[in-house]
Amino acid sequence: MTITARPPAPRTTPRRRRVIRFTPRDIAVIGLLLGIPVVLDVALIWGPTLASVALSFTSWNGVTDIKPVGLDNYHNIVSNYPPFWPAVRHNLVWLLFLGVVATPLGLFFAVLLDKQIRFSRFYQTAIYLPVVLSLAVIGFIAQLLYSRDYGAVNAALGRTDNPIDWIGDPSINLWSVLVLVGWRHVGYVMLLYLAGLKAVDPSLKEAAAIDGANEAQTFFRVVFPALRPVNILILVITVIEALRAFDVVYAINRGRNGLELLSVLITDNIVGEASRIGFGSAIAVILLLISLIFIVTYLLQVFREDRA
């Protein structure tokens, strides 16, 4: 492991000069090294996605001929498809909750657990455990906790006479689900930040301490900026998780009655009975654009800071 701990050796040769010329066999191998991942990715991820983008400009039920309809699907989605705007709002609330509550909490746990502390492994396990539970199981847990008549929360609150319907009431069910989703997201974020914190050079912290910085200053001025690679990764993961969220609400009530999400609308349209494939694809394209807005805005900001 000592080898990997060392920083990359300074380049003494110009960047493009190879140590020794590649043989034809080497070049074929390089083609395969890069070619296999690229072909796999293009055939099974980029290809289908681009095909969906194309389908979003058509009307198709999967059986009859594909009929091009231009931007009609998009127009219909924003102007006369009632579940669309609530779903957008739910997705954004979801993103806000993960970004403002769950992610900072995960960072907080990681910072607490990064120090030498007794039972550290136990806490890590307890907090990470929800991440390895499947979302179907999280759905079961939701029923167990929140059910109106036999749920654990109402039992604990003593509200058996006048029970609260935590997942049936559309004004609160999104928040009930978000608590569970956050419960899971915190563990994921904690794990990634722990990995990032280990990679922060301890001498940075020592230097800050010698210069008289207190613990909070050291963290916000020295450690957190050094974590930027992990921050970017976590931002991307948080955006993706929030906008892709599907399994939990699907397991709870198929994503209806206050739990509409864009991913649910897409699934309903393309694999549901209605089989409006073009229409569903258009919702998916909108979802993709929303994700891109967040990610590209952030990346641009990062690059601008880099240059400044």
Binding site: L135, G139, F140, K198, A199, V230
Partner: protein, 268 residues
Amino acid sequence: MIRRLVLGVLGLLWLVPVYLLLVNAFRPSTEYDASRIWVPDGDFGLVDNVRLAWDAAGLGPSILSTLLYSVVSPVAAVVVGAMAGFAIVVLRLRAGFWWFMLLFGGTIFPIQMLLIPLFLGYSSADLYDRRPGMLLVYTAVCVPLAALVMRSFFTGVAYSIYEAARVDGASVWRIFWRVYLPLSLPALGAVVILEFAFVWNDLLFGLTLSQTETVRPVMTALSALSSAYSGSTVPVVLAAGLVMSLPTVLVFLGAQRIFARGLTLGQF
């Protein structure tokens, strides 16, 4: 002191839902009662519950396929991801960053966008409802994360290793297979563990690309069990969920050490 208190309270709070899951999955199938939901039952009902769920949902045939997918695909994906990372970082390919973006960019596409075209492609290529098809799609969706972690890992490996091996006359393939791949085993292990859980828990690809009991992954069977019409009692459904979660939980607990060592996210 405060630190320990905060951690203690939050750590216990985090375990509450898992506690409820355990207590009620161990309860005999007919003993479920809302007023005692917090209290463990004296009788041990887990085995019977699991047996009931196993028969009701037909979990048996699914489980072996799921195991196959969630072991083989992540392993294949990390090797493929390491290939890409090696080519981009160590061989310093021209436009390496863009090749990387091509591979990693796919992670932001909504999975639903893949479903219909994949379904059509799979039907015409005779991959629909077949194990090789499932393996292929899981491998492809696992590659981007593997490429990300391996790229970051190889960036931290001294370039002089590569130079020395070249001077000694090793071919590119030999350097990759005999030097860099063994060197990166901890990182590869960490990614395999993460992706094992991902594939094991997948629902969407299973629902769209498979049909028969022997091919379809276990989560699709499990989600059918929880629907209101399945007629299973709460302890039975919970027991099924618990047993289906065991592989991922055990793999994670057993491999925590690998995890701590292998997943360093220093460079990006």
